[in-house]
Amino acid sequence: MKQLLWKLLRKHISPAQLIGFSIANLVGLTIVILAVQFYRDVKPVFSDEESFIRKDYLVITRSVSTAGAMVGDTGEFGDADIANIEAQPWCRKVGRFMNSEFSIFATIGLGNSGRAMRSQFFFEAIPTDFIDVTDAEWNFNPNQPEVPVIVSRDYLSLYNFGFAATQGLPRISEGQVGMIPLSFTLSGNGLNETMPGRIVGFSNRLNTVIVPEAFMKWANTRYGDGGTGHPLRLIVEVNSPGDVKIEQYMADHHYEVAGDKAQAGKANYFLTVIVSIVIAVGVVISLLSFFVLMLSIYLLLQKNTQRLRDLLLLGYSPAQVSRPYVLMVIAINAVVLILAVVLMLVGRSYYLPMLEAFDLPRVSVVVAVLTGVVIMTLITLGNVIAIRRKVASLWLLNA
């Protein structure tokens, strides 16, 4: 029965129209899902989110004027200042930066060359509950001293793009960083001790070297005078970093918010705008192709009106008569969807190598594929409903 129906109803099907639709829809759909995938792949470059530091926080410093410096304003935050910030409604929690009060030299081995880079260094610590690293990675045991550090990502860039490039040394990705031999020599109070270090992560927003608070307390006591000074910097967890009231408060108190959040925010914003435009273009192309298919189907049904009517008179139901066309549309759309996903993967394989230097996390293609599936399902549903309605409209002869 299916073969006979198809033999009858395939008449007037225009391969040219269907191919035209398929290509147009393929282009539109590929643009959409490639844009979605690209956005998801690139987003982390501009994102402030760091897996090991909670996101809704600000680092603030006091701006010290030249005049202020001359009268002895050190730019420290006093207890009253901190209490005042803590009392603000937008403030969840305030953490103090603790500085190292002893001398530090860091030694970094450079591969198998036997060479080493040695530099004077500094540490800062913030309370552990601002840091989202597992306890196992972020602890310090004086009996087996090893210093975990979080380093500004700028330092890695500095090394990779500045130092390594000019010295002919290999570039290091974030993944490889744990393999670099790193040690710290700490001295003070007549002691001079060397212990291994380990980089547990990079931060875009903490432009410093962070060590566990426990280590800092231990080291300040051992090599310094215990570290009781007032902090120069505060880390503040807030309800919403974009809040205007925060900005106002900072301005009123001559505090400065550190970090490249604003810059990253702008880049992120433009990325979103550009990707949205590209997606919109893809959607428009897909929509137009949808109408091309609709027109083609309407034309086809129009040309086959008499055949369809005669089949209904024989006792075929509108659903049975529609089925060949419905199956045809589903088949075409499924092929277009599969091709679009393949093209997206091919396109992605071209741009992914360009992003390697950023050492971004691997993003799955599930969201992009699902986007394609949803769009195609909607288009197919639209087609199927149109076919059903058109066939149903043939039920009565409007004599």
């Binding site: 006979l4 008179l313 024989l314 509108p318 002869l397 004599a399």
Partner: protein
């Protein structure tokens, strides 16, 4: 289905005319299963319209038509499809064959819905009607008389309570007319079905119980 009742029906195009002299239009007519009806009509008196109203694909009439008391305007599409497969067999005057399909394919298109006749029975019917060599010929290459016979075989390929035949033998000679009359008589007897035949002159050869002037 036991009976078809036509009550005060009149095609919309006839509205406003003086009372139409007819034994069908604007009358109360009940046709029953098992009987044979001949509806004799002049051209333009709405013969094919009557068939299309009963078969449910036109509604441009006033009055009502009911199957076993149920107004047909209340039937769902699903119910109509079922009726067209099991209760009401219709042979349209214009036959409505698909010219690009062969004679057999045209018939199978119906028989595959109803599974009423075997392929052998269908081939035998081709023989009975004198066109055994036309089984696999595309309908577009058949003469009008041959096409009419193919359409007749197709009409026979379903169970029915009522056979509704719109000028079934308009293109057939007397001998073939008799054969066709015989086929429908046999089929109707077998199922206890009614046969309703319209005609403008060349009547299907059958013993009619009722003859009506449209």
């Amino acid at each position: 289905m036991q009976q078809i009742n036509i009550h005060d029906a009149l095609p919309t195009v006839f509205a406003g005319r003086e009372r139409v002299p007819s034994q069908v239009w604007q009358c109360d007519l009940t046709m029953e299963r098992g009987k044979r009806y001949l509806i004799v009509a002049d051209s333009g008196t709405g013969k094919s319209s009557l068939c299309s109203y009963i078969y449910g694909y036109r509604r441009d009439f006033s009055g009502s038509i009911a199957f076993d008391g149920q107004d047909i305007s209340s039937l769902s599409i699903g119910q109509w499809c079922e009726i067209r497969k099991t209760s009401l067999a219709y042979l349209p005057q214009e036959m409505r064959l698909f010219p690009e399909l062969t004679a057999m394919e045209n018939i199978q298109l119906k028989n595959q819905l109803t599974h009423y006749k075997s392929e052998k029975e269908i081939i035998d019917l081709f023989g009975t009607l004198g066109i055994p060599e036309k089984v696999d010929t595309p309908v577009s290459r058949l003469s009008i008389g041959q096409q009419q016979r193919v359409a007749i075989i197709r009409t026979l390929c379903q169970p029915a309570d009522f056979y509704l035949l719109d000028e079934p033998v308009s293109h057939l000679d007397t001998a073939n007319n008799a054969i066709v009359g015989n086929l429908f008589a046999q089929e109707a007897d077998k199922q206890g079905a009614a046969v309703i035949v319209t005609s403008v002159g060349n009547h299907l050869a059958l013993d009619y119980d009722v003859e009506l002037q449209l």
